[in-house]
């Protein structure tokens, strides 16, 4: 397993795509926090710090896309043949990808958080407000945001392994977030909080999100996302083991 994870990491380091994903998160966080400040957010309100750093969680869409690439990208470039020739135990390949990509999702979120903290502290001091480094709500928001990124990376790996077609898997993820969670979510009221993107927001924004619906408590959202990730992982391994690679 160790060498499989090292091989996955080597695959990531030897192409450019992963670095772009790593860069996209901080860009979104800088834009989001700057937007909040410029549009007149009250920097003297203690809740604003957590609100600013909630953008770390929102970067989870990038690890999701990145995770989809893990298997679907290998099908696209037909490198999956060589991957399975090296490791005929396909379940172990998918397992190594889940671990590697979840780790990368977490790392990307940590980078986003560090950039976000630096940008927020700079804005606060530029506007003459004091930035409270001991703000517990802010730190739990950051922690939840990192967990959201980690889970979405794993969910992406599962989704990509199930669908295998890269464009199809990306389209399915976007359609899910926009249509199912966006529109259907409005119609099913409180049931919507069990959907993965709602659960992610509960985890990364702390229940006081920009949504009308009540969200799950943080720990509940963490369990729900972990369950989604596990379900996708099991389905991905079960189908990958059986399918012919032609």
């Amino acid at each position: 397993m160790h060498s499989l994870i090292r091989a996955e990491m080597l695959k990531l380091r030897t192409v450019r795509g992963p670095w772009l994903v790593l860069a996209a998160g901080p860009v979104l966080v800088i834009a989001g926090i700057s937007g909040l400040v410029v549009s007149g957010g009250d920097l003297h309100d203690p809740a604003t710090q957590a609100k600013a750093l909630a953008h770390v969680g929102l970067t989870a869409i990038f690890p999701l896309a990145f995770g989809i690439l893990a298997v679907a990208g290998e099908y696209r470039h037909k490198t999956i043949t060589d991957t399975y020739l090296s490791t005929p135990a396909r379940g172990r390949v998918i397992g190594a990808k889940l671990l590697s990509y979840a780790l990368c999702g977490a790392l990307a979120a940590v980078v986003s958080a560090i950039v976000g903290l630096a940008v927020a502290a700079a804005w606060w001091s530029a506007k003459g407000a004091s930035f409270d480094w001991g703000d517990t709500a802010m730190w739990t928001t950051i922690g939840g945001g990192i967990a959201w990124n980690t889970a979405f990376a794993a969910i992406g790996v599962g989704l990509g392994a199930l669908i295998r077609n890269l464009a199809g898997a990306i389209a399915a993820a976007l359609a899910w977030i926009a249509l199912i969670e966006g529109i259907v979510g409005q119609l099913i009221g409180n049931l919507a909080r069990w959907l993965p993107f709602y659960a992610g927001q509960a985890l990364g924004a702390g229940g006081k999100a920009m949504l009308p619906q009540a969200l799950l408590p943080r720990w509940g959202a963490a369990l729900v996302l972990a369950a989604y990730a596990a379900a996708f992982a099991v389905a991905a391994i079960a189908t990958s083991v059986r399918r012919d690679v032609a």
Binding site: H77, D82, L85
Partner: protein, 248 residues
């Protein structure tokens, strides 16, 4: 267990279509065996079943007496070049091999050795995006040779190679066979096959039409390889005796 290939009753059905129909043959070490057949004959499916990528409907395909999936270090036992094998366009040739070495438990020094063996040293640090078809084919062969395997399974390895490349490939394969390795190579280019292989397997419509030494195929009637191939693979009514006995 001599590192040969043993295929018995191998069958693959896709719904109503039978791609491979009860194939039985063996491939011995120490020589290059050509695997011939028209398009759609079932060659690639057979090779993919040997490599554990496609699950047979019936029968077995064993390498050194084991299924590919049961080999302890598959990349060090078997090297493969498959038509559908791809490369990430943004990764360099050298890094492609480094990834395979890492996943296959192969010492990293083998990367440079394999690049040298196929004459790709100079292009090794360029991204595969800029490779010609022939260079990709060489990289595929380097990947197959990476683990210094005793068995090589090659699907159209000459595709895209220029005449000099073909001659080099022939020398490499003959050298490896002389070293006692098992080499099974599919090809459409019969002139290339005639110069490279010692034995041939011919399949058509998923069934075996001939298995034996090249000389036996062409020698009996004084035919060219092409004439024998066309006779064995055209599904015009065959006279008794037109199909040489299989499995000898």
């Amino acid at each position: 267990m001599n590192g040969g290939i043993t295929v018995a009753g191998l069958t693959k059905r896709y719904g109503p279509l039978t791609a491979v129909d009860g194939l039985t043959f063996t491939v011995e070490p120490g020589q290059v065996t050509g695997f011939l057949g028209p398009n759609g004959a079932g060659k690639t499916t057979t090779l993919r079943m040997l490599l554990g990528l496609v699950t047979p409907t019936e029968g077995s395909a064993l390498i050194g007496g084991r299924r590919y999936a049961d080999l302890r270090e598959p990349r060090r036992a078997v090297g493969a070049v498959l038509e559908a094998t791809g490369f990430h366009p943004g990764r360099t040739g050298r890094n492609h091999l480094r990834v395979l070495a890492e996943a296959g438990g192969i010492p990293p020094e083998r990367v440079a050795a394999a690049l040298g063996q196929v004459g790709l040293d100079d292009a090794a640090d360029r991204r595969v995006r800029g490779y010609s078809l022939g260079m990709r084919q060489r990289l595929g062969l380097a990947a197959a040779l990476l683990g210094d395997p005793r068995v090589l399974i090659l699907d159209e390895p000459g595709n895209g190679l220029d005449p000099a490349g073909l001659a080099e490939l022939r020398d490499v394969l003959r050298g490896l066979a002389a070293d006692g390795r098992t080499i099974l190579m599919s090809s459409h280019v019969l002139s290339e096959v005639a110069q490279t292989v010692a034995r041939v397997l011919i399949i058509a419509g998923g069934t075996l039409r001939f298995s034996g030494p090249l000389g036996e195929l062409t020698g009996v009637r004084g035919e060219t390889l092409e004439a024998a191939f066309l006779r064995l693979t055209s599904d015009l009514p065959r006279q008794a005796g037109a199909v040489a006995p299989a499995g000898n």
